[in-house]
Amino acid sequence: MDSVVIPIYTTIVSVPYYHYVLEGLLVLVVVFLWNRRNRRPRRPQLTEEEKEELIRKWQPEPLVPDTPQDHPALNPKYVDGKMGKYVSIEGKDYLNLATSNFLGLVGDERIEEVAKKTIYKYGVGSCGPRGFYGTVDVHLDLEKQLAEFMGCEEAVLYSYGFATIASAIPAYAKRGDIIYADKGVNFAIQKGLQASRSQIEWFEHNDMEDFERLLKIQAEKDLKNPKKAKVTRRFMVVEGLYLNSGDLCPLPTLMELKWKYKVRIFIDESLSFGVVGSRGRGVTEHFGVDVTDVDMIMASLENAVASTGGFCCGRSYVVSHQRLSGLGYCFSASLPPLLTTAASEALRIMDEEPERFDHLRSNGRRMLEGLRAAIADTLFYVQGDALSPVFHIKYRSDDVEEAEKKLDALVDNAFEKGLALTRARYLVGEEAFPIVPSIRLTVNSQLTSEEVDKSLKTIAEVVRSLTKK
């Protein structure tokens, strides 16, 4: 006992007294500052009457502001019947260059037959999330089929395209992680990034030098704090084909950067799945990149596959994680069986009829070249990759309103001439970066060259009439 107490006592005595005075002062300062910090946000204590007064006086804003009655969303064109190559609106048929039915699978009789059979076996809804009796064997079949189709170990099926992308990203990236994202990514990715609460580093659209610059800055930071760097996950999120511009991502360069800087790569192939690549496997097939090197591919089944839902595929180690952490997977009812078997059948058709991809590509090329010729020497211009089935027609003007008016006029006039076009719609103010107004024009594999030429002629006429004024 003494052996412990005596050394302590001697130490206490041997320390000079000013030491204690200083320490005492220090403690007082700390207490003072602590007190002040606590007190600052607190407003003076209110009496009960004052509180009542405040509560009585509080006036809420209206729940929603007024919406102008001429807002395009309030006056949509209601399509009657199938959203096929031609759409019927109020009894009149229009050539459809507005929807993303790239392979012409909407209205395919084989798929419809399968879907009907599914209804008579499984009913319509699945009545539960995947965990609680919402897993139907057709879901497992489609997951297996998707994994085989893409050459991956595992695929995870979601029940909605938007939710696939927006849930998959935050299933991995958490607070404290870093996500590198292209500035041109679509809204679903932006929401996924927001939900992850990670640190987001934006690089210029398809600008690999800018991307590497950001990576180098981070590498320097990592040198200073290697302990933290070791546990900071890094992701890059890009699109295979960019919905908002029709550009292809430079995948080989991205893969190089992935290995060099140890950044996991997530690719949103919503648009490129079933479109790019000689057998429709997407950008990995097109660039000849080994799909197992990509950490995760996310895609919607609502474009080329012409069903509902989405999926993520990749190595089991990565992908299976979201079966418990993907919010849109765990907490949502599963995809209706009939839409699942429809997607299965669509995949089978894609395998059996690869000529659809060729038709799509040749239509795309014809449309792009034709468009460039049709609107040459005007203020309109086209944006989009030659491989893309999606093009953006934009208008050169500093005045956004004028550009919007011109584009709207183009859509309306073309509609009168039997062509269904649509403006690309964005929520102004919600998008992460300013948006240039455009018309999003899509082609599909079913269009004949005559139809492409005819629509080009119509567009050229309309554009000419618009530029004359």
Partner: protein, 595 residues
């Protein structure tokens, strides 16, 4: 009071009698009358108090009421007890004490005895220690598991997962995962076919044996029994494929608006009694994509602590300040609103722009029904807005299945935003948002769901509209009301029987979501396995979906369950309750529960 209840119960009896022609079985009535009136608790509000409240259009909440609970509508009375019964079991004194102070009804859950809680924690401790040990053994290479491995070139990347989550998933969840994700091979009706599977390595991999088994389904959210592979709804869906195809491949703002979806939205508005409605192809997305356009930074969201993940995500994405109030507790809600108005926005102290209360109709894990009249009273008193998520309650409550608003006899106009799913009662997929025209127009123009989400598939639309037509009686039959009555009757019967057997049941008497408390996660897994062995499918829920010490088995009642099926299920549950010793309530052998 007895006079009132007897007459109303008589009418209830008549109703049941007329509906019971559909079911083969029918017990004699006197017992039913006796039993139901016996089970009703004394704090029932006569319907006059409701009418007086309606006349001034505003509920006075400042003054304490003796029999405080407003909002027992005549239907609920007719159908027998619904007041307080559950709560009077465990901790009646506490809840009545709270009621005296304020007019709002505050519920207290009966909890497990303290030694059970201690044992639950102890069992977790044992499991975690053993998991650590197993992890260590694996790390040392003493035994191998077929766990998915990281890419060989990526071993030096920052690890994707790890820590406690990994430990939990690899050891605890893995062993028990056979009670989850069971694959169906049929329609999720009252009887479903499950594909048999087995595992030879403790849940790492499953092998399908190639056989199937017929299982009584008490896990699917098929409240109204519309999940069927034949009949008018299936025919309508198949016909819709021929007429309108399967997909639109476009968003609502861009070109994806179809006539059939437009018509569906009209039906939904008519069904709910609102001015206008919108439908979306995913229920989860309806919440997460639409809430952000209703509130923004500078607004306050008051969210029930047990709100669904989609609501929580939607709130988080909106950027508004979020405060969480105690589950189904209008008193706490009021306290928080008052404090929030007084304190203003965090940091700046400016007054909030608007306050939105977000509640659910039926809470899917607790089985509670929201006390809507109380919430509406608070909302009106302070000028807040109310967002009601009827994911589980639409179709499942109210005399014509219109949800919790009808159940309490409230005015749909008092709920600013009515949200619900089409997945559950209507056996389709998707969700809706309904409300005043002005609100819906704003959502139509400004929400992510409308601008970036694709529109609904035609067969799904057809399923919803045909089942809604049946519920509205537009098909010329009274099948809709038969379904709601059967559901109400099945629910009350099953709940009462379970309780009398000595199980501890959470939630409201009229709620078709029935959680049976097992507390131990090990017990709930055992419960799930043993029921399946006896061809009964229930849902076993443990952490993280519930608090760590409150694991439970959950039953979902459907209108398509027959009395025989319920009796069979009860027999099995009772047997397993004895085996697993999960009868945490009080046994009541004397009461005979009539169907």
């Amino acid at each position: 009071m007895p006079a009132i209840s007897t007459t109303s119960l008589e009418s209830a009896h008549h109703r049941f009698e007329s509906s019971s022609t559909a079911s083969d079985d029918h017990d004699d009535s006197p017992i039913e009358l006796h039993d139901v009136s016996h089970s009703s608790s004394p704090n029932r509000t006569p319907s006059e108090s409701r009418s007086s409240e309606d006349s001034d259009g505003f509920v006075e909440i400042a003054e304490p009421k003796k029999e405080a609970h407003v909002g027992v509508d005549s239907w609920a009375q007719n159908n027998g007890s619904m007041n307080g019964k559950v709560w009077s079991r465990g901790d009646a004194s506490a809840s009545s004490r709270l009621c005296e102070k304020s007019s709002y009804k505050v519920e207290e859950y009966p909890d497990a005895p303290w030694y059970t809680s201690v044992l639950v924690c102890f069992s977790y401790a044992v499991m975690i220690i053993l998991s650590k040990f197993a992890d260590w053994l694996r790390k040392k290479g003493y035994f191998k598991v077929p766990k998915a491995q990281e890419h060989y070139r990526q071993k030096d990347f920052a690890p994707l997962k790890g820590g406690f989550e990994s430990l939990y998933l690899d050891n605890l969840y893995r062993i028990a995962c056979d009670v989850m994700n069971r694959p169906l091979a049929s329609v999720p009706g009252a009887i479903m076919t499950l594909r048999d599977r087995t595992t030879y390595n403790h849940g790492w991999q499953f092998v399908y044996t190639g056989t199937t088994s017929e299982v009584l389904n008490m896990g699917s959210y098929n409240y109204l029994g519309f999940s069927s592979n034949s009949g008018p709804c299936a025919d309508a869906a198949a016909k819709a494929i021929t007429a309108d195809g399967l997909a639109t491949c476009a968003t609502r703002h861009e070109f994806g608006m179809t006539k059939i979806q437009h018509n569906l939205e009209k039906y939904v508005a008519e069904y709910l009694g609102t001015e206008s409605a919108l439908c979306f192809p995913m229920g989860f997305g309806t919440n997460s994509m639409n809430i952000p356009c209703l509130v923004e930074k500078g607004c306050l969201i008051l969210s029930d602590e047990l709100n669904h993940a989609s609501l929580v995500l939607g709130c988080r994405m909106s950027g508004a300040s979020i405060k969480v109030f105690k589950h189904n507790n209008a008193k706490d809600l009021e306290r928080q609103i008052r404090n929030a108005i007084v304190a203003g926005q965090p940091k700046s102290g400016k007054p909030y722009k608007k306050i939105m209360i977000i509640v659910e109709g039926i809470y899917s894990m607790e089985g509670t029904i929201v006390h809507l009249p109380d919430i509406i009273a608070v909302k009106k008193k302070y000028g807040a807005y109310l967002f009601l998520d009827e994911a589980h309650s639409v179709g499942a409550l109210g005399p014509s299945g219109k949800g919790v608003v009808e159940y309490w006899g409230c005015d749909p106009a008092d709920v600013d935003i009515m949200m619900g799913t089409l997945t559950k009662s209507f056996a389709a997929a998707g969700g809706y948002i309904a409300g005043r025209k002005r609100t819906i127009e704003h959502i139509r123009a400004k929400s992510q769901g409308c601008c970036y989400g694709t529109t609904m598939s035609a067969p799904v639309i057809a399923q919803v509209s045909s089942s809604m037509q049946i519920m509205l009686g537009h098909d010329g039959t009274d099948e809709g009301s038969i379904r709601t009555q059967r559901l109400a009757r099945n629910t009350r019967y099953f709940r009462q029987r379970l309780r009398n057997m000595g199980f501890l049941i959470y939630g409201h008497d009229d709620s078709p979501v029935i959680p049976l408390m097992t507390f131990f996660v090990t017990k709930v897994v055992c419960f799930g396995r043993e029921t399946l062995k006896r061809n009964l499918g229930v849902v076993s829920v443990g952490a993280p979906a519930t608090p760590l010490t409150k694991s439970r088995a959950r039953f979902c009642i459907s209108a398509s369950h027959t009395k025989e099926q319920l009796d069979k299920a009860l027999e099995i549950v009772s047997e397993i309750g004895d085996v697993t010793r999960t009868k945490y309530g009080r046994v009541n052998n004397t009461e005979i529960v009539a169907y």
